[in-house]
Amino acid sequence: MIALGVGSDLLHGFGTVLDPMNLLWAVLGVTLGMLVGILPGIGPALTIALLLPITFNFSDPIGAFIMFAGIYYGAMYGGSTTSILINTPGESASVATAIEGHKMALKGRARAALATAAIGSFVAGTISTVLLTFVAKPLGSLASNFQATDYFAVTLLAMVAVTALVGHSMVRGLLSLTVGLFIGLIGLDSLSGAPRYTFGSLRLLDGIDVVIVIVGLFAIGETLHVASKLRSTPDRPAVLEKGRLRTGYLTKSDWKRSWAPWLRGTALGFPFGAIPSGGAEVPTFLSYSIERRRARKKGRDEFGNGAIEGVAGPEAANNASFSGVLVPLLTLGLPTSATAAVMLAAFQIFNVQPGPQLFENNSTLVWTLIASLYIGNLILLIMNLPLIGLWVQVLKVPRPLLYAGILVFACLGVYSLSGSGYEVLMALVIGVVGFFMRKLDFPIAPVILGVILGPTMEEQFRRALVISNGDASVFFTRPLSLVIIVLTVLALFVPYLPRIVARLRGTQPAHQRLTFGEDD
């Protein structure tokens, strides 16, 4: 029954995506995503944020979301390309790829590394989208039983888990989170109408648009950061294999060594994406260490020297995690990574509220989005392998021009929100904050999650209290809420697990603290 219903919904979705105009948006999205995403330091979250204004006046959100799916895939694969070719991973999800991928490139196997990344992304993306297709609607109806206390608890879990797992210092992560929560407080209180932290400014009554925060923190902050290092430390340009890029696709043995890591990567990526754990960082690193361990057991230790498994696994996990991230985003309206937070902002621009009702109210939109994931994956595969040489040309553009262009687009995006220079100033202020956060090694993702989730969390918290007549025990008497709150507390301790385990065993810990990459 369910499968049949899903089938016809999805078919309908495909019908919409395959409209020539929508296909054009998908191709355009992949192209733009690739062009911007290939720049070092610029991940999918920023790419989508920078390209948001293109869709501001779309009459139909469907075209916009098809394009976003394309942008995401393009930007993600662009990040892998940079990691492999010049060893500057644009976001933490590509760090694992860079380790073996760049070694392969140095050995003249850049093309094989890019191919296993692209095909692995396609395989993982397709499988995980199938999983998303069948899991999303049932979970959506399950989520419709969620009450305010559950929402509060799960929002809290998402914020805390991401903060605890991503970045190097718990204190800095939590500071980032509280700053984000504070930015979310600015403006009129949605329940009582009281202005909060508006400092008498009429402009601040509406709060600070999340697009301004994202563009400011990521685009302007990153540009200022790059600018501060430009003069004194010019990067040694990494050398590209000449003529090798067009030949040397996967050999038979490459295929044999790649397919199992692809599947294992998918199996890690999807569930880790679906639970609030910060998106792709954790599964990519897990996939890397699992593949390395398996290779060692087989006595074939090429790891650290350009092992293709170390590219195939993490890349598959990276792509699969995106479909996973969409599960809580679509069914609960809960973003669990910076990229998902940007997607949520995009949904809100079009007045679409993700959550249990989404499948009822915007059925066409959801199924078109899911169908566009299949198509986006395919377009990525078709466009990237033959055209890789073209994308790489972007990296030959002198950096002063690249970053001047990024600032122009950042300004365009925030300017077109309301058509005044005021937004540009606001983004600059936030960009300066982002600059110092980079200098001081603060993670960025918790700020974004705080801004986006803070208001939701507060609203659900207060609604729950109103329903219970101010009885705070509601958060602990409802089993589901209680379980989630306990998980939240546990999440705070995960990074210290190695130390705790070591102390229990009475040995010295190997590492002080468990970390999974940096933020995106």
Partner: protein
């Protein structure tokens, strides 16, 4: 005496290399091979990798001359880097490869070779790639 050759792994770079090798064996000089990147982009094919440098110096040794290799990232000023190297070492001749350019292309892009020609204290030998294909 030393001959300074500005080397890039392209056709005109190879031409410069050949010319430098011939001149050096004629004059009994050693060769200082300088490979520079402007360093303003993320990647630069003109910045030679180890294999390319190895091939280049082997080519020079075929002429029976001694080779020193220098690589530098020039912060956007390739000509300045060449002139600096020429001043620092006992250089008697600079050899450069020239790209074939239309007059208009030259106007827009400006030229490293032009600055070296104008400012070099020592003679400059400018050579073009043998076959007329642009890179």
């Amino acid at each position: 005496m030393k001959i300074l050759v500005g080397y890039v792994p392209t056709a005109e770079g190879e031409a410069a290399l050949d010319a430098a090798g011939r001149e050096a064996s004629l004059r009994g000089a050693s060769v200082l091979l300088l490979n520079t990147s402007r360093g303003d982009a993320y990647i630069d094919a003109r910045y030679a990798n180890e294999a390319e440098l190895e091939t280049a110096s082997a080519k020079l040794r075929e002429h029976g001359v001694e080779v020193t290799i220098q690589q530098a990232v020039s912060n956007g000023d390739v000509a300045g880097e060449l002139l600096k190297a020429a001043a620092a070492e006992d250089v008697g001749l600079i050899v450069l490869g020239l790209r074939r350019r239309s007059p208009v292309g030259k106007l827009i892009l400006g030229s490293t070779a032009q600055r070296v020609l104008l400012e070099s204290p020592v003679p400059v030998l400018a050579v073009k790639a043998p076959t007329p294909h642009d890179d």
